[in-house]
Structure formats: C-alpha cells, structure tokens
Symmetry: none
C-alpha cells in the first residue's frame, strides 16, 4: 500500500468512526462518511468492499491498536496488582482520547447481525484472554484470591465497560482519571489483594 493510499484509507476510517458514533451504524449513510472524509461516495468502495467492511475494518484496526497498546503497557509490570491497575488506566486513557471509538464500541459491540458480531468478536476475545491470563497468573502466584477466572474477567471488564458507558452517554463527563483509583480499590477488595 502506497503512502497516499494508506492516508485515504485511514481518513475514511476516521470519518466512519465519527459518523458511526454520531448516528449509529444503521442510521448512518455511506454518503455521510464520504462527505466527512472529504471524498466522493464511490471512492469509499475503492477502499472497502461494502458498508459492513468499513465497520469490520474499523474494529480490527482500532480495537487492534487498543489491545496492542494495553499489551505493550502491561508487560512492563510485574505484580498482578500493578498489571490490573495498568489495564484500568490504559483502558480509560485510550478511550478517553478516542471518544468516538468508545461510542462506536459501546454501540456496535452488541450488534445482533451475526456477520458483524463475528467480525467484531475477534479483537474483543483477545482482550478477554489477556485479562484472564493476568488473573490466572495472579491466582497461581497467590497474589489474588479468585474462585473462577471467567467470572473474575466478567466483573473486571464489565466494570470498566459500565464506567465507559456512563461516561459516553454523559453530556459533560467527568474526566476518567479520577475514577481509576476508585475502580482499582473495588478490584483490590474483590480479588482480595493484600495491601
């Protein structure tokens, strides 16, 4: 892929993120994405197979980067406690810096259309896997107490997700920085992490 080609590809993906966040996938016409990206409608189809492909690409590209960033940050820490805190912080920071992506994630993560779900579920599963790994390791090292890794992950991710959900739907959201420690404190209790 040449430089200008890649640039336009990402311009369209950026525009789609904005547009999907604003209108939702189904309510958003391809022409709106095109206008936002500053290209003609037909140009979209030089870069994406169809509308669905835009959404799918958006997820694998953006979510991929999100997971990548979290993975990259987590490996710098040793203890389970640090790792969990790191995930919380990176999760919040990344989505705070990419509000439209956060919205799209919130909205479209739950599409029922089987084809879309399937395409989306990939990166998310990776994330779930990472969390579960950290928890399993924590149990093994006896740094945390947890009866069921899957339920542990559900609580951990569900909490972050609920926080983001509120933040996203709030008109004037308070910065997520202030919440990190509150969330972490709950996790410390839930996972019986010693002081």
């Amino acid at each position: 892929m040449s430089k200008p080609r890649e640039e336009k590809y990402h311009a369209i993906l950026d525009a789609a993120t904005e547009a999907f966040a604003l209108y939702g996938y189904f309510t958003c016409q391809v022409s709106k994405i095109a206008k936002l990206a500053g290209v003609a409608d037909g140009t979209i189809y030089l870069y994406f197979k169809n509308k669905e492909d835009i959404l799918v690409s958006l997820f694998s590209d953006r979510m991929g980067k999100f997971i990548q960033e979290i993975l990259h940050s987590v490996v710098q820490y040793q203890t389970t406690q640090e790792k969990l805190l790191c995930i919380i912080r990176t999760h919040f920071r990344y989505l705070q810096e990419n509000r439209s992506l956060a919205i799209v994630t919130q909205i479209e993560l739950r599409q029922s259309d089987p084809k879309i779900r399937e395409a989306i579920s990939g990166p998310l599963r990776d994330y779930f896997h990472l969390i579960e790994q950290v928890l399993a390791e924590g149990i093994e090292r006896e740094e945390i107490v947890l009866a069921d890794v899957k339920v542990g992950r559900q609580m951990f991710f569900g909490t972050l997700d609920a926080v983001i959900s509120d933040w996203v739907s709030s008109k004037k959201p308070r910065p997520l920085e202030g919440i990190e420690d509150l969330v972490f404190d709950l996790m410390r209790g839930a996972f019986r992490i010693k002081e």
Copy 2:
C-alpha cells in the same frame, strides 16, 4: 383498554421481543413481527405509532416489569448483603426466563439513535437508582465500605451485565444459578462485607 385489545397488544410485543432478539432492531422488518404475532402488517399500526414505538414500548413494559420484580423482591430483605444477593439472583433468574428480552436488552440498550436511547434510559435509570440506594444505605449502616456510590453501582451492574452478555452470546450457556455465588463473593470482597 379492553381485554382482547390488551391481549393482541402483548402478542405483538412478545413477537417483537422474539424477532428483535433474532434479527436485531434494524434488520428486523415489521412484517416479520406481524407474521410472528399472527396479525396483518397493518394491524401493528393500530397498536403502535411506528416501529420505534414498538421498541420503546417493549422496554417500558418488559423492563418495567423487570424492575418491578426486583423491587418487590428486595424489600423482603433487611441487610445490604441480603439485598445485593437478592438483586443478583432476581436479575439472573428473570433474564434466564426471558432469554429473548435479555438479548434485546444487550443489543438495543446501546442504540445511538437519541430518540430510542431516551426512551430506553427511563427504566434503566430506575434500576441504577435502586442499586445506588441499596449501596448508599449499606454505607450509612456501615455494612459495606465504599468510596463512591456511582462507581459501586457501575461495578455491580457492569458485572451482572457482562455475565448476561457472555451468557447470551454463548450457544450452550451454563445455567446462571451456578454463577450467582461466585459473583456475590466478588461483591463481598469489593464492598468489604464482613462474614
């Protein structure tokens, strides 16, 4: 509202719940709901203003009953510990018995369309409020330790939601009964509930 009128109203709502769960709101045609309800397409419009109104009614009706049931159950308990466990159990049991509603909730709870969001958010806010009340009361009575009621609710609801989300998307879900205690144990830790 006369008896037979009310019957048909609920028949359509039941059909819509099934159909939305199966296809998703946007992908589901009104004619599919009509067929499932055993009425003509036009009949739908004698009971609902438009397609959106079906979704909105579905939420206020079904979610309303859901909240009602939880409220009703919770008041039978005294301690915060018991109340939280009661919510967990009722939440899981109700959605387990109404799988289609659970799916619709998961999927459509996060519509971006502002009109739909607004309509949906009512019953949900009631639920959030209930949880927060229980938590606030628990703090006051010193039965739990919690720095921020809102974050506490986000964790509590987010966890239940994530469990349901996994359960809903699993082809062969394990019964939710086995998970209740695991979830509650995590909450006990998070909220520092004494044994």
Copy 3:
C-alpha cells in the same frame, strides 16, 4: 391467483413488453415499466422477483402463447405444404398483431447473459422442435425432399426471422400479408414440394 392480482400481473407484463421494445432491456429502467403500467415502482416487486424475472416471465408467457397458437393452428392441416404455409401465416400474423413482442423477441433473443439466455431458450426450442417435426414428417411421407432436418429448420425459421427483423426495423413497414406467398414459394422450391 385472484382476478385483480392476475390483471395487474398482465398489466405489468404488457408495460414491460412496450418498454423493452422501446428502449431495450438494459436501457429500460424498472421505473419506466412501472409508470407505463400505472403502478408504483415497488409494486413491480410484488409480482416479480427482480428485473430479470420480468423478462423471463414475459418470454414464457408471451412466447408460450405464440407457440400455443401456432401449434393449435397447425394441427388443423394435413399436408406438409399446408402446415408450413400455416406456420408462416400464423408467425407473421401473431407478430404483426404484437409488434412490441416482435421487437423484444428480435432484440432480447440474443442476449449473451447466460441466465437470461437459458430462461428464454425454452419456448424457442419448443418452436424449433415443432418445425423440425413437420419437416421430418414431410420427408417420411415423401411430400418434401430434404437432406438435413436441422438445416431445413434453420432455413425456414431464419427466413421468417429475417423478414420480421426487416419489418421491425422499418419505420413504415409494408403489411406482412403480401410476403407470405413470396416466402412460401421460396420454401416450396427449397423443399422441392410438388405443385
């Protein structure tokens, strides 16, 4: 199929015949057929699966009737000579009375699109078969002399087709009645029919 339903079905088919004759299949928009038939665009799709289905139905319906009429007429005659003359006359008369059908036949009979070809070829093959049967019978009864039935049919049909082709493309065509005898005289010579 109820009465009014069948009426509209044929109204659309009539309109399509006119429109395809006027513009050609590809150049003719579905909306033009709808306007000509006096129905809304969407109504077309209550009666036909898609644009292609209109063309296919047109052929099986119209060509079917055409063949039917020829078959019906031919059985009334005994000698090969009479039968061939009957085919010539019926062929000319039918298409003269259905000029648009004649045009559509001329134009679309030769579509390259495999799906369309296949659908169209059915009724035509029936016609070819009929002609070949008459010729084979004539040979057997020694009423005509002909080395190869297929080539005989090609000449017979090709001649009629070429006449119609000229007639169709002429702005002010001379009536086909005057040509029947000329054509038949050529056939008589070609097939060595005795006086």
Copy 4:
C-alpha cells in the same frame, strides 16, 4: 495514424470483441476491455470517444473487413450459382475463424438503442446490398427464378444467420464446412437454379 498507435487501436478492438462476446455489450465493463487489451482504463478514451464508439468501430472495422473479403471473393466468380456458393462459404469460413466476432454480431446486431442500431446498420446494409445485387443479376441473366429480390435476400441471409446462431450457441459446434453444401442445395431449390 502512426504504426504503434494503430497497433494499440486494434489491440483494444480485439479485446472488446472478446469481452463483448463473453459478457455482452451492457454487461461488459470498459475496465474489462482495458485489462484484456493490457492498457489502462483511461487509455481506451485516447482511441475511442466512449463505450458505444468501441462497439460501433468494432462493427465498421470487422464487418467492413468481412464484407470486403466477401466482395473480393465473389468477383472471382461468374455464374450466380457460383457467386451464391462463394458467399455461403466465405460467410461461414470468416465467422468460423472469428468466433467472437460471430457472437458479437449475433448478440449486438439487434440492439434497440437507436444510436447503436444506426451505426451498426451501415456495414450490414452493404452486405444486404451485395446479396440483392447478385440475386437481381441472376434474375436478369435468367440463371435463377425469384419473384422478389428483397425476400430472396431475407431468406438467403436469414438462413446463414440462423445457422451461425445455432453454431454460436452450441457448446460443441459441428464444423460449418459440412453444412455449406446442405445450405446451398436448399438455395438451389428456392431459387430454381438448374443443375
């Protein structure tokens, strides 16, 4: 026209013949022709005004050569009998050697689009004219008996055309050489040519 320019012109025309034969004029995209010709899409428009112009040029060029070849061959013969046989043979041989052209001719000869028809009709009319001339001369010289030259031409051309039509649509066509004599024998009867 310089040499290399002319080469590319014909390369495009060759490619168009193949592509139109394969897909049909309307179903064939200009980009397919370009790819087949080994040039860029835009290059096509340095040699042809538009898509239609390719088809038109194809006919005047290819059909022109076709007529030329027939004309050239026919003048070598004296008697009407010989001339007609020569036309049959050349017609069959030329199209057998240019199957794609034969297909395109069969398919597109009958376009309804008036502009296309007009452009195509030129070379065809020349051909018709040639046949009619041979026939008129035959009548004059009393080598054939024929009441109407136009109908005679219609039969003559229609027969050749029908043979080609069958040959073109057959997956495994028998060689046309075997048919020449069969066809000629029919013509001899039709035109009352003496032995």
